[in-house]
Every structure is written in structure tokens, then in C-alpha cells.
């Protein structure tokens, strides 16, 4: 993470803050919206938020670093969120993670450019595990070949 000394306002972040009337209790919503648009939360965006909401940068950083959802770096093109909770463990998610790690050559929760694997704890699909969340779509009874299909299908859709 780098700290920049310039104070150029982040236009999109400013727009979102204004839409939320600069209310600090809506900070989580603001962060979600910016991350949805940009993929991650940049220094410039956080600086703009702290100014608009009249919070210290430490306070904003405290919130961002507390929640697993918020990312400070650019994410992989395909983020596969795999449920690691007990119900999915009972139907073999640990084996699925091992297979996916070796197929894509990345480690769980450890980055990746094209594909990254991220642990998530419970997707509420506990009777149809292992469960995976990908592009905000939920998948059940997932196998490695299904993960491969999801990524392939996504590529085709984007290529059109």
C-alpha cells in the first residue's frame, strides 16, 4: 500500500458520497458502491471519503480493514469464493480446494492474476454443498469441472 501526498479528489468517490448525503453511518454502503465500480478501494478514494464524511483517514482505514469484503488491491479477473464452513467440509470442500489450487496454480486466499480462490464462510446453501459464489451467482454441489465451466462460460459471454 502506498501513501500519496497529493490531494486530487477522486471524482467517483465524491459522487457516491454526495448521493449518500455525506452521512458517515452509510460508510459501508459507500465503500460497497465504489468497490463495485472500481474493483477495489484506492488511496485516493479513501482520502476523498474521509474528507467528505468528516472522518479521519484512520477511522476510514479502520472500517475498511475490519471487513473481509473490502479490498485495497486490484483483484483477479475471476474470483472464486469457496465456502469453507462445516457443512461444506462435510461434503468434501477441502478436497475441492486442494484440487482447484493445484489446477490453477494458486493458493487459497493468496492472490492470482486470472483466477484467485478466496475462502468465504457460509453461503447459506448448506444442503447443496460444496457451495461457491462467483460473479454474485451462487452454485451448489460444485466440482472442479464446474468451476472450469463457470470461468469458460464467463469468458465466452464477455467475448461476445
Amino acid at each position: 500500500m502506498t501513501t500519496l501526498l497529493n490531494t486530487i479528489e477522486h471524482a467517483f468517490a465524491k459522487k457516491v458520497c454526495v448521493a449518500h448525503h455525506d452521512r458517515s453511518d452509510e460508510l459501508l454502503e459507500i465503500l460497497h458502491e465504489i468497490q463495485k465500480e472500481e474493483g477495489f478501494l484506492s488511496d485516493a478514494a479513501l482520502r476523498t471519503i474521509s474528507k467528505s464524511l468528516n472522518l479521519s483517514r484512520a477511522e476510514v482505514h479502520g472500517v475498511v480493514s475490519f471487513y473481509h469484503d473490502f479490498k485495497r488491491e486490484k483483484q483477479a479477473e475471476n474470483v472464486i469464493k469457496i465456502c469453507r464452513a462445516e457443512a461444506c467440509q462435510a461434503v468434501g470442500v477441502n478436497e475441492l480446494i486442494r484440487d482447484a489450487e493445484s489446477y490453477y496454480g494458486v493458493k487459497l486466499d493468496n492472490g492470482g492474476d486470472t483466477v484467485s480462490l478466496e475462502s468465504i464462510f457460509c453461503l447459506g446453501n448448506c444442503a447443496l454443498g460444496p457451495a461457491v459464489l462467483y460473479n454474485n451467482n451462487l452454485y451448489g454441489r460444485v466440482s472442479l469441472s464446474e468451476i472450469q465451466n463457470m470461468i469458460k462460460f464467463n469468458k465466452e459471454v464477455q467475448g461476445q
Binding site: 452521512r23 453511518d25 472500517v63 462435510a90 464462510f121 447459506g124
Partner: protein, 512 residues
């Protein structure tokens, strides 16, 4: 003639391809079909479950894949024709027929976003009654019903409402806790996606009871479908005058908003949730003051679980007694139990308290999906204890399960087969606490890390006896000195695993 065909839009059904099935049926129907997207009936092993409306009732087909659609048309399924995937009338399937559905009465039956459908199936009746009552009368009915918090703590809902009602007039809030993070639970999600109006109705009734005019539903970000459904449901209720100023031409005002979490399990703890709702770090706060006295922004606030609030409309519609007649001992009413993990018929079973674990796991659930023997069941989410088949005669209730060294929690049951390694599950419990601890109190923040490390030492066979003693001391400390249930209950799965399967901890290196 155009036939009504139901294909669920519940996230679990979508996760196994319900959208593609719905589209394929529509394409092949030559305009003879009207597709209705309902919630899930809770028979998740049959998803996608397609239902066809016939003169005799709704006929069920499942699990339907895209490739099955042609043969369904060939078998004349639009008139309820026989097929290898046909299960007869949905409501006569034993799993469904023997349930006692009060909170989930409409889930799977109706289009979740059709307010007329909701009203035609008993919706809004409770709210209409409540609008003609004094707030104290509503509180009394909830107290008499014996309804207790369905989030896990089991605190009497009526007492909570009474406390908030007794606070001086002024700004008050009501919050629905939809941060359903426990593994093995999905009832909140199913209710929000399958019958969102019932949650909203329960919240309006609660708001009137305590004098709140603002409310929030705090939904976890892992539930994108539920978030979408709730936001649409709120708009529909606003447009038809059931939310906003002067509800149904009375002086009751209520503004409701959805707030989205950001992937923190701890935000299911009420004080942490209230911090998060204020846009802060979700750190647990010391009680007292309790939220009913000083909650969101320091104002009186009631925080109730989705299932608690979802039970309120029934109670107001049919009276306290008709609810309290269900149940056993101090656990009144019904509980939506959720069967998960390695289970043949996974899904949601709403039954009165007092049903045995044996019946839920083996009769409703049908044992394991893998066909292997059951080794253990974890009740009550990641902080609940393990229980073995020898103890399955325990009845489901707050007190009975606590006595059996586990807990009701949010009503989830996760089944593990005989290949499960209990030591690695115990380690996972500590690891989960490490990842999800809010970090405020030391026993939870540091204890979980030390617990994980100690279990790693045991697993590698280092000074086993000594390390088991250290782990035991650590569990004592976490139980007694943690600020909230996260650190306080993490030892429960660890300890029960050690007590039930001591060999796996004392002889971890033996191949099993």
C-alpha cells in the same frame, strides 16, 4: 389453456440451475405455460423442483435438469402426467406433509413479490389486528405466546419489546438481524427470498409495539438474492401504503431500509451489528446498557432475528395461545430446522419444539447422502457442540439441547460421516474464531490463535498430554472471560469433539 408452472427463484434452487430449467420449459411450451417464480418448498435435495398446477393440486417434479424438460413434455407433465421424476402432489410428500409450518406457511407456495398472493394466503391479517391495538396489548400478546429469540440466545421477545416500549418517547429503532453466518443455517435466507413481506410485516408490528418509526434490515453481503428481493418488497409495500407515513390510514409511520454487511461473522452479535449499522467497525460492546435502552445512535433499539420477526404476524393473526400450543416446556412454538452437510434429504423442516433429533436426522433427513454411517452432528452452527447417534433421542428445545452439551442456535444440524477427522474440525473451530474475532477482548483474539497452535502441536504428536491440558485451560479461560458468545462458545465444539472422540486427540498419528 395456459398452465401455471412453478420454478423456484430461491438461491439454493438457482445454484443448481433453476433459471435454465425455467427458460427451457418456457421455450418448449409453445406459449402454453405461465412460469411463476416461487420460493423454495425447502426440499432442497429435489431442487430444481418444478411444480405444475392441476385440478387436484400442485404436482412436483424434481430434481429437474435442462435435459429432462423434453421428456417431461413427452410425459404430458402439464396435466400431471407420470414421469420418473414425479413425486405426486407436493403437499403429500411425507417430508413436507408432516411439518408444522407457521412461519414458513407461505414459503414456496406464493410468488414472493406478489402482495395480493400474500394477502390471499393469510398475510397482513396480523398487521391489521396490530394497528387496531394499543402498543402494550401487542407486547402482552407476544409475551403470552412464549416467543423467544430465534437467533440463538433464546431471550423472550416480549420482554425485550416491553423494555423498549417502556423507554421515554422519542426516536427508537427496530432492526432485523439477517446476518445469518452460522454454517448449516439458511432459514433466514429462505424466508427473505420466499416470503419477504412476512418479515416486513413483523417489523411494522414490532415498530408499532415499541414506538419506533425507523427500521433497518441488516443483511449479509453473501446473500445477494435476498438483498434484491427485500429491496423490491420494500418498494412494493411503500407503493401500496403499508410502509411510510400513515400506514393503512392510521397514525403509524414506519420507514424501512436494507443495510448490507461486508463479510464479518461477528456482526451477527447484536452490539457489533449496531456498530456496523452506524458505519463503524463491527466491534462488540460491553453490556449494559442493553440495546433496548441504548442501542443504535444511543437510542432505544430492538434487534430481533429474521425468524423471530417472521413468527410475529402469525401470532398477531391467530392469537398467543394458538402459537403457544405448539412446543415443549419453555420452548414454545415452532422452529424451522435446517438439515445440512452429508444428508440424503437436506432442507428445511419446520416442526414444533420437542421433535427428536433422531426423527429430524433419520426420518426427515434419511441418514447420510454418501451412505456411510453418521459419526457426529453439529447442532447450532460453528459454536455448537457435536453430538453422536447414541444421543439422538434428545428432543429439540433450548433447555434440552443445552443439557446435552450442545445448543439450538439458529436451528441448523450439520451431519458428518465416519470419515470425518474430529481433530481437524476442532482446529477449524479455533481457526474460524481467529479469522472472525472482532479483536476487542484478549481471550477470543489471542486464545483462538493459541488454541489453533496447540491443536497443531497435538496433531503432530508433540507432548500430547501436556498440550491437551494447556488446551483445556485455554478453553476454560475463553469460556469465562470472553466478552461475547464468539470467544465464549468456540470451546464448545472443541471440547465436545475431545470428549466424544478422545482417541483422536491422544493418538492423532494413527491412521483411521
Amino acid at each position: 389453456m395456459i398452465v401455471n408452472v412453478y420454478v423456484p427463484c430461491d438461491a439454493a434452487a438457482l445454484s443448481v440451475g433453476a433459471d435454465n430449467v425455467a427458460n427451457t420449459i418456457l421455450k418448449q411450451s409453445n406459449g402454453k405455460v405461465n412460469i411463476i417464480r416461487n420460493g423454495s418448498r425447502g426440499m432442497l435435495w429435489l431442487e430444481p423442483l418444478v411444480e405444475v398446477e392441476t385440478l387436484k393440486g400442485r404436482v412436483a417434479y424434481g430434481p429437474v435438469g435442462v435435459d429432462d424438460v423434453k421428456s417431461l413434455f413427452d410425459s404430458n407433465f402439464l396435466e400431471g402426467g407420470d414421469h420418473s421424476l414425479c413425486h405426486g402432489l407436493t403437499e403429500e410428500i411425507p417430508f413436507f406433509a408432516n411439518q408444522e409450518r407457521l412461519t414458513f406457511a407461505r414459503v414456496g407456495k406464493i410468488n414472493p413479490l406478489d402482495l395480493n398472493d400474500y394477502e390471499a394466503n393469510g398475510g397482513l391479517l396480523g398487521l391489521k389486528n396490530a394497528l387496531s391495538m394499543k402498543p402494550s396489548q401487542i407486547v402482552d400478546i407476544i409475551k403470552d405466546s412464549g416467543l423467544r429469540g430465534r437467533g440463538g440466545a433464546g431471550f423472550p421477545t416480549g420482554i425485550k419489546w416491553e423494555t423498549a416500549c417502556a423507554q421515554p418517547d422519542g426516536q427508537k429503532y427496530i432492526c432485523a438481524n439477517a446476518d445469518e453466518g452460522d454454517s448449516g443455517t439458511f432459514a433466514d435466507r429462505m424466508l427473505m427470498e420466499g416470503d419477504p413481506f412476512s418479515l416486513i410485516e413483523g417489523m411494522i408490528i414490532g415498530a408499532r409495539a415499541i414506538g419506533a418509526d425507523k427500521g433497518y434490515i441488516y443483511v449479509r453481503s453473501e446473500y445477494p438474492h435476498a438483498i434484491r428481493t427485500l429491496k423490491s418488497a420494500i418498494i412494493i409495500m411503500e407503493e401500496s401504503g403499508w410502509l411510510g407515513e400513515g400506514i393503512n390510514d392510521t397514525e403509524t409511520n414506519f420507514k424501512l431500509s436494507v443495510r448490507i454487511g461486508a463479510g464479518a461473522y461477528i456482526c451477527g452479535e447484536e452490539s457489533s451489528m449496531l456498530e456496523s449499522l452506524e458505519g463503524k467497525r463491527g466491534q462488540v460492546k460491553v453490556k449494559p446498557p442493553i440495546p433496548a435502552v441504548s442501542g443504535m445512535f444511543g437510542k432505544p433499539t430492538i434487534v430481533n432475528n429474521v425468524l423471530t420477526l417472521g413468527s410475529v404476524p402469525f401470532i398477531l393473526a391467530h392469537g398467543a395461545k394458538s402459537y403457544a400450543n405448539f412446543g415443549e416446556g419453555r420452548s414454545k412454538g415452532t422452529q424451522p430446522f435446517q438439515l445440512a452437510g452429508d444428508i440424503k434429504r437436506g432442507g428445511l423442516v419446520e416442526k414444533a419444539f420437542g421433535v427428536s433429533m433422531e426423527e429430524l436426522i433419520n426420518v426427515y433427513g434419511g441418514g447420510t447422502k454418501s451412505g456411510r454411517p453418521i459419526k457426529a452432528v453439529q447442532a447450532g452452527g460453528p459454536l455448537g457442540g457435536y453430538i453422536t447417534p447414541e444421543s439422538f433421542n434428545v428432543t429439540m428445545g433450548y433447555e434440552t439441547l443445552a443439557k446435552a452439551k450442545t445448543m439450538l442456535g439458529h436451528g441448523g444440524l450439520v451431519v458428518f460421516n465416519d470419515t470425518t477427522n474430529m481433530l481437524s474440525l476442532a482446529r477449524y473451530a479455533m481457526e474460524f474464531c481467529e479469522i472472525e474475532s472482532c479483536g476487542k477482548c484478549t481471550p477470543c483474539r489471542i486464545g483462538s490463535v493459541r488454541g489453533k497452535e496447540t491443536l497443531d502441536k497435538i496433531a503432530s504428536g508433540k507432548n500430547i498430554e501436556e498440550n491437551i491440558q494447556i488446551l483445556d485451560d485455554l478453553c476454560d479461560l475463553m469460556e469465562e472471560a470472553s466478552l461475547c458468545a464468539m470467544g465464549g462458545l468456540t470451546p464448545m465444539p472443541v471440547r465436545t469433539a475431545m470428549q466424544l472422540f478422545p482417541d483422536e486427540f491422544t493418538n492423532p498419528l494413527i491412521e483411521r
